[in-house]
Subunit: 117 residues, 2 copies
DNA sequence: CGAATATATCTACAAATCTTGATATGTCAA
DNA sequence: TTGACATATCAAGATTTGTAGATATATTCG
Protein backbone atom coordinates (compact mmCIF):
# COMPACT_ATOMS: atom_id res chain seq x y z
CA UNK A 1 0.00 0.00 0.00
CA UNK A 2 1.82 3.07 -1.24
CA UNK A 3 1.63 6.66 -0.07
CA UNK A 4 -1.67 8.29 0.70
CA UNK A 5 -2.95 11.54 -0.74
CA UNK A 6 -5.19 13.79 1.31
CA UNK A 7 -8.41 12.71 -0.31
CA UNK A 8 -9.69 9.36 -1.37
CA UNK A 9 -7.36 6.98 -3.15
CA UNK A 10 -8.24 3.46 -3.99
CA UNK A 11 -10.47 1.47 -1.74
CA UNK A 12 -8.87 0.81 1.64
CA UNK A 13 -8.89 -2.87 2.45
CA UNK A 14 -10.55 -2.33 5.82
CA UNK A 15 -13.31 -0.39 4.17
CA UNK A 16 -13.75 -3.13 1.64
CA UNK A 17 -14.13 -5.76 4.33
CA UNK A 18 -16.62 -3.66 6.21
CA UNK A 19 -18.51 -3.02 3.00
CA UNK A 20 -18.72 -6.75 2.42
CA UNK A 21 -20.22 -7.36 5.85
CA UNK A 22 -22.67 -4.52 5.45
CA UNK A 23 -23.64 -5.83 2.04
CA UNK A 24 -24.34 -9.20 3.62
CA UNK A 25 -26.62 -7.62 6.20
CA UNK A 26 -28.45 -5.47 3.70
CA UNK A 27 -28.82 -8.37 1.34
CA UNK A 28 -30.55 -10.32 4.08
CA UNK A 29 -32.97 -7.44 4.40
CA UNK A 30 -33.44 -6.96 0.67
CA UNK A 31 -36.36 -9.31 0.22
CA UNK A 32 -39.99 -8.53 1.10
CA UNK A 33 -40.65 -11.94 2.56
CA UNK A 34 -37.65 -11.67 4.83
CA UNK A 35 -38.68 -8.20 5.92
CA UNK A 36 -42.10 -9.49 6.85
CA UNK A 37 -40.48 -12.26 8.83
CA UNK A 38 -38.26 -9.71 10.47
CA UNK A 39 -41.25 -7.60 11.41
CA UNK A 40 -43.10 -10.59 12.74
CA UNK A 41 -40.16 -11.26 15.03
CA UNK A 42 -40.03 -7.74 16.40
CA UNK A 43 -42.73 -8.70 18.85
CA UNK A 44 -40.61 -11.51 20.15
CA UNK A 45 -39.74 -15.09 19.46
CA UNK A 46 -42.00 -17.01 17.09
CA UNK A 47 -42.05 -20.61 16.07
CA UNK A 48 -41.92 -21.48 12.42
CA UNK A 49 -45.45 -22.77 12.48
CA UNK A 50 -46.70 -19.33 13.46
CA UNK A 51 -44.70 -17.69 10.71
CA UNK A 52 -46.16 -20.04 8.14
CA UNK A 53 -49.53 -18.69 9.14
CA UNK A 54 -48.54 -15.06 9.09
CA UNK A 55 -46.91 -15.13 5.70
CA UNK A 56 -48.42 -16.92 2.77
CA UNK A 57 -45.28 -18.88 2.35
CA UNK A 58 -44.76 -22.47 1.43
CA UNK A 59 -42.90 -24.35 4.07
CA UNK A 60 -39.66 -24.83 2.18
CA UNK A 61 -39.71 -21.28 1.02
CA UNK A 62 -40.07 -20.00 4.55
CA UNK A 63 -37.26 -22.27 5.62
CA UNK A 64 -35.05 -20.87 2.89
CA UNK A 65 -35.59 -17.29 3.99
CA UNK A 66 -35.11 -18.13 7.64
CA UNK A 67 -31.82 -19.72 6.74
CA UNK A 68 -30.79 -16.62 4.82
CA UNK A 69 -31.52 -14.45 7.84
CA UNK A 70 -29.73 -16.85 10.11
CA UNK A 71 -26.66 -17.09 7.89
CA UNK A 72 -26.42 -13.32 7.98
CA UNK A 73 -26.51 -13.51 11.75
CA UNK A 74 -29.73 -11.56 12.07
CA UNK A 75 -31.76 -14.22 13.81
CA UNK A 76 -31.18 -17.11 16.16
CA UNK A 77 -33.07 -20.33 16.45
CA UNK A 78 -33.88 -22.51 19.39
CA UNK A 79 -35.43 -25.94 19.34
CA UNK A 80 -38.13 -26.84 21.81
CA UNK A 81 -39.57 -30.24 21.28
CA UNK A 82 -40.62 -30.51 17.70
CA UNK A 83 -40.87 -26.79 17.27
CA UNK A 84 -38.15 -24.38 16.37
CA UNK A 85 -38.36 -20.81 17.54
CA UNK A 86 -36.71 -17.92 15.80
CA UNK A 87 -35.88 -14.57 17.29
CA UNK A 88 -34.01 -11.46 16.32
CA UNK A 89 -30.40 -11.36 17.44
CA UNK A 90 -30.00 -8.24 19.60
CA UNK A 91 -26.33 -7.84 18.73
CA UNK A 92 -27.14 -8.00 15.05
CA UNK A 93 -29.82 -5.39 15.51
CA UNK A 94 -27.22 -3.13 17.00
CA UNK A 95 -24.86 -3.95 14.17
CA UNK A 96 -27.45 -3.09 11.57
CA UNK A 97 -28.27 0.14 13.26
CA UNK A 98 -24.68 1.25 13.58
CA UNK A 99 -23.89 0.12 10.05
CA UNK A 100 -26.58 2.40 8.81
CA UNK A 101 -25.53 5.23 11.07
CA UNK A 102 -22.00 4.91 9.75
CA UNK A 103 -23.37 5.03 6.28
CA UNK A 104 -25.58 8.04 6.65
CA UNK A 105 -23.73 10.04 9.26
CA UNK A 106 -21.39 12.86 8.43
CA UNK A 107 -22.71 13.66 5.04
CA UNK A 108 -22.50 17.21 3.76
CA UNK A 109 -19.03 18.59 3.96
CA UNK A 110 -17.02 20.00 1.09
CA UNK A 111 -18.37 19.55 -2.40
CA UNK A 112 -14.90 18.30 -3.29
CA UNK A 113 -13.53 20.62 -5.91
CA UNK A 114 -13.54 18.39 -8.90
CA UNK A 115 -13.53 18.39 -12.65
CA UNK A 116 -13.34 22.15 -12.79
CA UNK A 117 -13.27 23.17 -16.38
CA UNK B 1 -55.83 -21.70 9.31
CA UNK B 2 -58.26 -21.70 12.23
CA UNK B 3 -59.47 -18.75 14.28
CA UNK B 4 -57.18 -15.85 14.98
CA UNK B 5 -55.30 -15.64 18.23
CA UNK B 6 -54.50 -12.25 19.70
CA UNK B 7 -51.44 -11.81 17.56
CA UNK B 8 -50.70 -11.59 13.82
CA UNK B 9 -52.93 -12.82 11.02
CA UNK B 10 -52.04 -12.79 7.39
CA UNK B 11 -49.87 -10.09 5.92
CA UNK B 12 -51.63 -6.72 5.78
CA UNK B 13 -51.47 -5.26 2.31
CA UNK B 14 -50.06 -1.98 3.56
CA UNK B 15 -47.28 -3.81 5.27
CA UNK B 16 -46.55 -5.72 2.08
CA UNK B 17 -46.24 -2.52 0.07
CA UNK B 18 -43.98 -0.99 2.65
CA UNK B 19 -41.90 -4.14 2.73
CA UNK B 20 -41.49 -3.93 -1.03
CA UNK B 21 -40.17 -0.39 -0.83
CA UNK B 22 -37.85 -1.23 2.01
CA UNK B 23 -36.60 -4.23 0.10
CA UNK B 24 -35.83 -1.97 -2.83
CA UNK B 25 -33.81 0.34 -0.64
CA UNK B 26 -31.94 -2.44 1.08
CA UNK B 27 -31.28 -4.13 -2.22
CA UNK B 28 -29.62 -0.98 -3.46
CA UNK B 29 -27.37 -1.15 -0.43
CA UNK B 30 -26.68 -4.85 -0.71
CA UNK B 31 -23.62 -4.67 -2.91
CA UNK B 32 -20.09 -3.78 -1.73
CA UNK B 33 -19.35 -1.60 -4.73
CA UNK B 34 -22.50 0.39 -4.19
CA UNK B 35 -21.73 0.78 -0.51
CA UNK B 36 -18.31 2.15 -1.37
CA UNK B 37 -19.92 4.59 -3.76
CA UNK B 38 -22.37 5.55 -1.08
CA UNK B 39 -19.54 6.17 1.36
CA UNK B 40 -17.64 8.19 -1.17
CA UNK B 41 -20.68 10.40 -1.53
CA UNK B 42 -21.08 11.01 2.17
CA UNK B 43 -18.48 13.73 1.92
CA UNK B 44 -20.57 15.49 -0.69
CA UNK B 45 -21.22 15.51 -4.38
CA UNK B 46 -18.72 13.72 -6.61
CA UNK B 47 -18.41 13.51 -10.34
CA UNK B 48 -18.28 10.10 -11.94
CA UNK B 49 -14.69 10.65 -12.99
CA UNK B 50 -13.70 10.93 -9.33
CA UNK B 51 -15.55 7.80 -8.42
CA UNK B 52 -13.81 5.88 -11.15
CA UNK B 53 -10.59 6.74 -9.41
CA UNK B 54 -11.74 5.88 -5.93
CA UNK B 55 -13.15 2.51 -6.82
CA UNK B 56 -11.35 0.12 -9.05
CA UNK B 57 -14.36 -0.07 -11.29
CA UNK B 58 -14.65 -0.21 -15.02
CA UNK B 59 -16.60 2.66 -16.40
CA UNK B 60 -19.67 0.68 -17.45
CA UNK B 61 -19.71 -1.18 -14.20
CA UNK B 62 -19.67 2.03 -12.20
CA UNK B 63 -22.44 3.38 -14.40
CA UNK B 64 -24.50 0.29 -13.75
CA UNK B 65 -24.23 0.67 -9.99
CA UNK B 66 -24.92 4.38 -10.08
CA UNK B 67 -28.05 3.64 -12.01
CA UNK B 68 -29.12 1.08 -9.46
CA UNK B 69 -28.68 3.60 -6.66
CA UNK B 70 -30.51 6.22 -8.65
CA UNK B 71 -33.41 3.93 -9.54
CA UNK B 72 -33.84 3.23 -5.85
CA UNK B 73 -33.96 6.96 -5.25
CA UNK B 74 -30.90 7.02 -3.06
CA UNK B 75 -28.84 9.39 -5.18
CA UNK B 76 -29.43 12.27 -7.56
CA UNK B 77 -27.42 13.33 -10.53
CA UNK B 78 -26.72 16.71 -11.97
CA UNK B 79 -25.02 17.47 -15.26
CA UNK B 80 -22.46 20.22 -15.43
CA UNK B 81 -20.83 20.50 -18.79
CA UNK B 82 -19.50 17.16 -19.77
CA UNK B 83 -19.41 15.93 -16.20
CA UNK B 84 -22.17 14.39 -14.19
CA UNK B 85 -22.19 14.78 -10.45
CA UNK B 86 -23.86 12.37 -8.09
CA UNK B 87 -24.94 13.09 -4.56
CA UNK B 88 -26.90 11.39 -1.83
CA UNK B 89 -30.56 12.26 -1.73
CA UNK B 90 -31.26 13.71 1.72
CA UNK B 91 -34.87 12.57 1.72
CA UNK B 92 -33.84 9.06 0.86
CA UNK B 93 -31.32 9.11 3.66
CA UNK B 94 -34.12 9.96 6.02
CA UNK B 95 -36.25 7.26 4.50
CA UNK B 96 -33.55 4.67 4.96
CA UNK B 97 -32.99 5.68 8.52
CA UNK B 98 -36.63 5.59 9.45
CA UNK B 99 -37.15 2.34 7.60
CA UNK B 100 -34.49 0.79 9.74
CA UNK B 101 -35.83 2.36 12.89
CA UNK B 102 -39.23 0.96 12.11
CA UNK B 103 -37.68 -2.38 11.59
CA UNK B 104 -35.64 -2.54 14.73
CA UNK B 105 -37.68 -0.50 17.14
CA UNK B 106 -40.07 -2.01 19.59
CA UNK B 107 -38.62 -5.43 19.73
CA UNK B 108 -38.95 -7.44 22.90
CA UNK B 109 -42.50 -7.69 24.04
CA UNK B 110 -44.42 -10.86 24.70
CA UNK B 111 -42.85 -14.11 23.63
CA UNK B 112 -46.19 -14.89 22.00
CA UNK B 113 -47.47 -18.02 23.66
CA UNK B 114 -47.17 -20.49 20.85
CA UNK B 115 -46.97 -24.14 20.11
CA UNK B 116 -47.31 -25.05 23.78
CA UNK B 117 -47.20 -28.76 24.05
C1' DC C 1 -17.63 20.77 -38.65
C1' DG C 2 -14.87 16.97 -36.61
C1' DA C 3 -12.17 15.05 -32.84
C1' DA C 4 -11.85 14.22 -28.00
C1' DT C 5 -13.88 13.46 -23.55
C1' DA C 6 -17.36 11.90 -20.08
C1' DT C 7 -20.84 9.00 -19.34
C1' DA C 8 -24.84 6.03 -20.49
C1' DT C 9 -26.76 2.08 -22.74
C1' DC C 10 -26.81 -2.34 -25.06
C1' DT C 11 -25.44 -7.22 -25.50
C1' DA C 12 -23.96 -11.48 -24.03
C1' DC C 13 -22.77 -14.43 -20.53
C1' DA C 14 -21.73 -16.24 -15.87
C1' DA C 15 -23.12 -16.46 -11.29
C1' DA C 16 -26.39 -15.80 -7.61
C1' DT C 17 -31.08 -16.00 -6.03
C1' DC C 18 -35.81 -17.61 -5.47
C1' DT C 19 -39.37 -20.86 -6.05
C1' DT C 20 -41.46 -25.39 -5.97
C1' DG C 21 -41.83 -30.17 -5.17
C1' DA C 22 -39.64 -34.19 -3.21
C1' DT C 23 -37.28 -36.23 0.36
C1' DA C 24 -34.73 -36.44 4.72
C1' DT C 25 -34.31 -35.67 9.82
C1' DG C 26 -35.68 -35.17 14.39
C1' DT C 27 -39.27 -35.51 17.97
C1' DC C 28 -43.32 -36.83 20.17
C1' DA C 29 -47.38 -39.90 21.01
C1' DA C 30 -49.89 -44.23 20.78
C1' DT D 1 -42.16 -49.50 17.10
C1' DT D 2 -44.74 -46.99 14.12
C1' DG D 3 -46.90 -43.06 12.58
C1' DA D 4 -47.76 -38.24 12.55
C1' DC D 5 -45.98 -33.79 12.77
C1' DA D 6 -42.51 -29.82 12.35
C1' DT D 7 -38.87 -28.39 9.97
C1' DA D 8 -34.65 -28.67 7.12
C1' DT D 9 -32.37 -29.89 2.95
C1' DC D 10 -31.92 -31.20 -1.82
C1' DA D 11 -32.65 -30.90 -6.85
C1' DA D 12 -34.10 -28.47 -10.91
C1' DG D 13 -35.78 -24.72 -13.37
C1' DA D 14 -36.89 -19.68 -13.93
C1' DT D 15 -35.47 -15.13 -12.91
C1' DT D 16 -32.45 -11.62 -11.47
C1' DT D 17 -28.09 -9.66 -10.96
C1' DG D 18 -23.35 -8.32 -11.95
C1' DT D 19 -19.55 -8.07 -15.28
C1' DA D 20 -17.04 -6.98 -19.51
C1' DG D 21 -16.78 -5.18 -23.95
C1' DA D 22 -18.80 -2.55 -27.69
C1' DT D 23 -21.29 1.18 -29.09
C1' DA D 24 -24.16 5.35 -28.58
C1' DT D 25 -25.04 10.14 -26.87
C1' DA D 26 -23.99 14.61 -25.18
C1' DT D 27 -20.73 18.30 -24.62
C1' DT D 28 -16.71 20.94 -25.30
C1' DC D 29 -12.70 22.35 -27.94
C1' DG D 30 -10.05 23.44 -31.97
Amino acid sequence: MPAAASRPRTLPTASAARAARMAEIFHALSDPTRLLIFEALRGGEQCVCNLTGILEAQQSRLSFHLKTLKDAGLVNDRREGRWIHYSLDPDALEEVRSALDDLTRAAKSSAAACCRR
